[in-house]
């Protein structure tokens, strides 16, 4: 096991969520916009409307800066964030899909060269060449989505890969096609949405209304198709994921409601500006992008949640422990080894004095175990943002070490929780630590059960001092 990094209060997983969510805005623009651009440029040449090129120049500059600086940096940022908060997770995906990513990188290079050349050669090369560069960009950007969707879908539903370990078996997995079609339709809607914002700032009224009318049609068509494919995607989910999707604890009702509301509001927006293009001003346009963000963020977070307790379904738990054997790649589950050796020995990055548990170090050992096995999804502080352990402990009523041990023993009875890995003694240490997190001042903390806890009065003192 690698050492653990933790962002106080927020929790390291939220860092990934924060950067990844931001990345949605520029990356979707990068993938979508050029289909619209090429379409408009083509129209401008065919119908001899050179004034349309004014829009193109503006739109490309937005994409160039927003997508190719903030987009590519936040993309690298997601990667760094996963690297430092879940190194084994990113390592597993990379060791499987390195050639997929390397291929995607080739398309990144194609994209970035194409967009710069497109921008700087407008009016300086012949029309055919310029259109070709635009088309190369559009295809290249779409292909980068073709690749990354395969890898993201693989993590959720690896399908045959679990048996064969084959690259393409995992890539063309059960949720791949519906996800790809959903995202492909959606990017046309997104291209429309951004184009409306940019067109709203144009001075030429004719060009403005022409672009907005076309863009809103793209928006409506893309949205409807994406919604249909979203249904198919839900239908294609593996049974376990579908079960999780229906669980209220994991996915509060608000999340699917936000997705639906965003869809409706944006659809209405497309209709409104289609009828009244002059209403497409900058502020409502940007608001619409924020609504898009809320919708996409919620949809993506559903995917992240229904994958629990895994990083790669039925292979690697969120806490970086390999859950299942994989004979095709000659991999053994970590659980057996950890149960035998103990997680404190299995992990190299543990203070020497805590490797062997005794009555004086039990609490500290328990804390280290929680850092290693729980902190990927739970902050340890009571004021933490990410399913804080103290409030979990309170909800579960863990006021005695015995009850806590019993719960730890059956953790995987909750479909979204991994099983505990470690020795009996380590389970006791973790239980002791969990009980110590029981919110002080809470009524139950002074209940008679407290007297019966096997945790000594010293431990409680240590905990209070610790706070």
């Amino acid at each position: 096991m690698y050492p653990v990094w933790q962002l106080p209060v927020a929790g390291s997983a939220l860092v990934i969520a924060f950067i990844a969510s931001f990345h949605i805005l520029p990356s979707h623009l990068a993938t979508s916009a050029f289909w619209f651009n090429v379409y408009v440029e083509n129209k401008s040449y065919k119908e001899n409307k050179p004034e349309l090129l004014e829009f193109i120049k503006k739109y490309v500059l937005v994409i160039l800066i927003f997508s190719f600086v903030f987009g590519s940096l936040s993309g690298v940022g997601i990667w760094y964030a996963i690297t430092v908060s879940n190194p084994k997770g990113i390592s597993a995906v990379i060791h499987n899909y390195v050639w997929g990513w390397a291929s995607e990188w080739v398309f990144f290079i194609i994209e970035i060269l194409a967009i710069y050349i497109y921008y700087y050669t407008l009016g300086k090369v012949d029309k055919k060449t310029h259109l070709t560069i635009g088309l190369i960009y559009a295809i290249g950007a779409w292909i980068s989505m073709v690749i990354i969707t395969g890898i993201i879908a693989f993590m959720l539903s690896p399908g045959q890969w679990l048996k064969t370990g084959g690259f393409f078996d995992g890539f063309f997995n059960p949720t791949y096609l519906p996800q790809l079609l959903m995202r492909t339709s959606h990017i046309f809607a997104i291209a429309g949405l951004y184009a409306i914002v940019v067109a709203g700032t144009l001075k030429n009224r004719e060009v403005k209304s022409f672009i907005i009318k076309k863009a809103s049609l793209w928006g409506m068509a893309g949205s409807v198709l994406a919604a249909l494919f979203f249904k198919w995607y839900l239908w294609s989910l593996p049974n376990t994921a579908e079960e999780l999707y229906k669980m209220n604890v994991l996915i509060p009702d608000i999340i699917p409601h936000v997705v639906a509301a965003a869809f409706i509001v944006l659809f209405v927006w497309f209709i409104v500006v289609w009828i009244r293009p002059q209403w497409a001003r900058l502020i409502p346009g940007i608001l619409a992008i924020f609504i898009l963000f809320a919708g996409v963020f919620s949809a993506e977070s559903i995917r992240e949640r229904i994958r629990k307790p895994y990083v790669i379904d039925h292979y690697l738990y969120s806490n970086q422990i390999i859950s299942n054997d994989m004979p095709s790649k000659n991999i053994k589950s970590n659980i057996g080894d950890i149960d035998r050796e103990g997680i404190l020995h299995y992990s190299y990055f543990v203070p020497e004095g805590l490797k062997t548990i005794n009555n004086t170090n039990m609490l500290q050992a328990g804390e280290i175990i929680a850092q290693i096995e729980c902190s990927a999804c739970h902050t340890l502080e009571s004021n933490g943002w990410l399913r804080p352990l103290p409030s979990m402990v309170e909800k579960a009523g863990l006021i005695s070490v015995d009850t806590a041990q019993a719960l730890i023993g059956f953790l995987n009875a909750f479909p979204f929780m991994p099983q505990f890995a470690g020795t009996v003694r380590e389970k006791e240490a973790l239980a002791t630590y969990l009980v110590s997190l029981y919110p002080p001042g809470s009524k139950a903390a002074y209940a008679p059960e407290l007297q019966r806890r096997s945790v000594s009065a010293d431990h409680i003192k240590i905990v209070k001092l610790h706070r």
Binding site: Y2, P3, V4, W5, Q6, V15, I19, F68, V69, F70, S72, L73, V76, G77, Y80, A81, T83, V84, S85, P87, K88, I90, S91, A92, I94, H95, N96, V98, W99, G100, A102, S103, W105, V106, I109, I110, L113, I117, Y120, T121, V125, D126, K128, T129, T132, I136, I139, V146, G166, F167, F168, F172, K329, N330, Y348, F349, V350, P351, L354, Q371
Partner: protein
């Protein structure tokens, strides 16, 4: 557990999908491409600031040209950095991941530092073009942030080489440091070897600039000649300095590495000396020697990145770590996918570079519609998609 067995235990059980040597070669090659753009950004931003503070039309032009080039180069640097980052994680995962976690806050910080650096340099470029006054702060802030990112990257790559120190850095008594707010190791000559090189490489870039635009009838010939001479002068001075730093660095690495017997180090040194000779020749007529100088500079950068890799092999070898012993789970299919994509990429990129090269050389619009590669590029990309559809159908049936 000693450091050697820890490293073994940390390696990914998934293994690597092709022979590790291939990943190693790709790591060195793509890192060389990345670092050239790192050099161009450090040097380019510096030149544009320096020229901004000097007076005269030549300096004004140069400042504008390099402010613009630097924003483009910065975005290319980011995208080019993705590949070495990937290949590093494939064959050196225990080193890279541990070192990253130990300085996690810094590694995340550089993402934001780069965003700020780009924004500042872009503001600098925009204001420069509008001939605004007192804008030096924007450029300087961008420059300092870029150097900060360089320091972080250097420290994280360097501390990765000392696995026996990791636990000491991480554990403090019975507590562990979860914050990742400390950079644990730094080696000045190794770091300077990047920074000093930036000015040599940027000097050669100035020579290329002067050479490339020499036939444009709308550009001032004497200005271009001036840029070429300044570039050649800068290149030669900093190549000498770079060699001094290089020798300093080599004498600071553990003596048991015996670099003077290592063929990779010798080759890198020979290339650097050749480059120096060409640059000395180039002083009287920079444009004539631009292409050989550029080619040799590229080879020297490749030599330097190879030497860095050779050094990494030596450092990691101290813990019996060898990338060549990485567990193999051969995947011919996915390896072929990359090979095909790479070849296709070279053709499409080749086409686009041809377009921009021809366009930039002419002051009037050019007609390049008859280039055969134009349609081929699009066909190849469509063929790529069809290939994937074919594989998908084969897998599904």
């Amino acid at each position: 557990m000693n450091a050697g067995s820890m490293l073994k235990a940390l390696q990914d059980p998934m293994g690597v999908p092709f022979y590790p040597l291939v990943f190693q070669v790709l790591l060195v090659f793509t890192f060389a491409l990345h670092i050239i753009f790192v050099n161009l950004v450090i040097g380019g931003v510096f030149i544009s600031i320096y020229s901004y503070f000097r007076s005269g039309d030549y300096y004004k032009n140069l400042s504008k040209a390099f402010a613009r080039a630097s924003t483009i180069n910065l975005s290319l640097l980011i995208v080019l950095g993705v590949a070495p980052l990937l290949f590093m994680q494939v064959i050196y995962d225990p080193f890279w991941y541990t070192s990253n976690v130990l300085s996690a806050a810094w590694m995340l910080g550089i993402v934001f530092a780069l965003m700020a650096a780009f924004s500042f340099s872009y503001v600098f470029y925009l204001k420069l073009n509008k001939d605004k006054k007192h804008i030096g702060t924007w450029g300087i802030a961008a420059f300092l942030l870029i150097i900060l990112v360089g320091i972080t990257m250097h420290a994280v790559s360097y501390q990765a080489l000392f696995p026996e120190q990791w636990v000491k850095w991480y554990v403090n008594g019975s507590k562990v440091d979860l914050s990742g707010t400390i950079l644990h190791a730094f080696e000045l000559p190794r770091f300077l070897h990047f920074v000093v090189a930036s000015f040599a490489i940027t000097g050669i870039f100035m020579m290329l600039y002067s050479w490339y635009f020499k036939d444009r009838d709308d550009m001032d010939k004497s200005y271009l000649a001036w840029v070429g001479r300044a570039g050649a002068k800068m290149a030669v001075i900093f190549t000498v300095l770079q060699m001094v730093v290089g020798v300093w660095w080599l004498f600071s690495v553990p003596s048991d590495f015996q670099f003077y017997k290592n063929p990779v180090f010798i080759a890198a040194g020979v290339l650097a000396v050749l480059l120096l000779f060409v640059l000395i020749e180039a002083q009287s007529n920079p444009q004539k020697y631009t292409l050989p100088a550029a080619a040799l500079a590229f080879m020297s950068v490749l030599g330097m990145t190879s030497a860095r890799e050779a050094l990494r092999v030596l450092y990691t070898g101290r813990y019996d770590y060898s990338v060549y012993n990485y567990k193999l789970n051969l995947s011919y299919g996915s390896t072929a996918l990359f090979a095909v994509t790479f070849i296709m990429g070279i053709i499409v990129i080749g086409y686009m570079l041809t377009v921009v090269f021809k366009m930039g050389r002419s002051s009037k619009p050019v007609d390049l519609s008859s280039l055969k590669l134009r349609t081929w590029s699009v066909y190849l990309m469509i063929a790529w998609i069809l290939m994937m559809v074919g594989i998908g159908i084969a897998i599904a049936s």
